[in-house]
Symmetry: C2
Subunit: 209 residues, 2 copies
């Protein structure tokens, strides 16, 4: 007999199943019953844990954000390690983006974009994503700071602009990847582009002073 999972573990499993449904069929493909069937649990299980569809989608948004945040935190930590500063290898940020844009991780990326669009019409969902936005932005700013040329102005407003531009670029790349685009072939290539962006935004800000 399979041991009954504890409620938190069960909730996570149901959310992970909903993530796969979102990626495969979009928001319209997610219902309580479809999650039950795909997760191979008794009908009614998903409704028991998440009373409404909106509650289910909100829980999925939180699950996706926490998984993404964990990955990004690990990347930020790897990148700031003394070893990373001297090693001749792609940045942890570029490696993470490449992994998120293909293979098994692409499922989560697709699900995120499906829900992000849905959030425009669902205040609870929007709130769920919004509550993580500042943490993401702070982490990406940390990572971008490490990629800045040493001579850059240590100005916070500039670091914020550089982080914003890199975030928008990465978001565009991941969105294109979710639609099957494969123009960037390696983390090294992505790193060269990110470094160019960071340096360019930095020096154009310097020019305007």
């Amino acid at each position: 007999m399979r041991r009954k999972p504890n409620p938190d573990q069960r909730r996570r499993e149901l959310c992970d199943t909903a993530i796969r449904l979102l990626a495969d069929e979009g928001v319209k493909g997610v219902s309580h019953l479809k999650v039950d069937r795909k997760a191979d649990v008794p009908d009614g299980t998903t409704s028991f844990y998440f009373r409404t569809r909106s509650a289910l989608l909100q829980a999925v948004a939180i699950r996706i954000s926490e998984l993404d945040l964990k990955d990004l935190t690990a990347a930020a930590r790897t990148q700031s390690s003394p070893a990373a500063a001297t090693a001749d290898q792609p940045s942890a940020l570029a490696t993470l983006v490449m992994r998120s844009a293909r293979g098994a991780r692409l499922v989560r990326t697709k699900a995120r974009y499906e829900l992000a669009l849905q959030a425009v019409r669902d205040p609870l969902l929007d709130e769920a994503f919004r509550s993580y936005r500042d943490q993401f932005h702070a982490l990406i700013r940390d990572v971008v700071m490490q990629l800045r040329p040493a001579e850059d102005d240590p100005d916070q407003a500039l670091a914020d602009r550089q982080a914003y531009v890199v975030m928008m670029f990465i978001s565009g790349v991941m969105q294109a990847s979710a639609s099957g685009d494969r123009r960037i072939r390696s983390a090294e290539e992505l790193d060269a582009l990110i470094s160019g962006i960071v340096a360019g935004v930095g020096s154009s800000a310097a020019l305007r002073k």
Copy 2:
């Protein structure tokens, strides 16, 4: 009595109505009957012009692409005019992006992202978007070429990289705008970021030679 529109005009009107439905309710909000009701035409009209839901969505993807292409072509023409080279005003590209990210035009931007995600699961829809991709890329490359610093290598591969990075950045900005982000406040601000990106990608490529 209202004059009966010709078939092409009718198809365009039904597509424009579907665009508003897509923006408001997402892909799941689009059905033949809902388009009929919202367009205030007799039930069955949309089914008459577009037999299947897939045919309707495909026609909408083509309509959005043609409208976007027309705007971008006009922007490319404005920007390459002798007047634009000397005038101290934002680029036509930045102006267009700002307009697409808010107000009435935001409806079309949202509809585009809804359909782009759907295209992963719908080969006809994907084909409709794909058939315009090269034209978009060529136009954006033309526009970006005009924004390059004069000393940049006239290398085509580099111009393609610069255009790609600007496209991904703009796509990220428009996607964020579709979700309510308003961090970029003016076309001038956007121009400064785009110029920084173009220059940065250009000089980082030069460094690697």
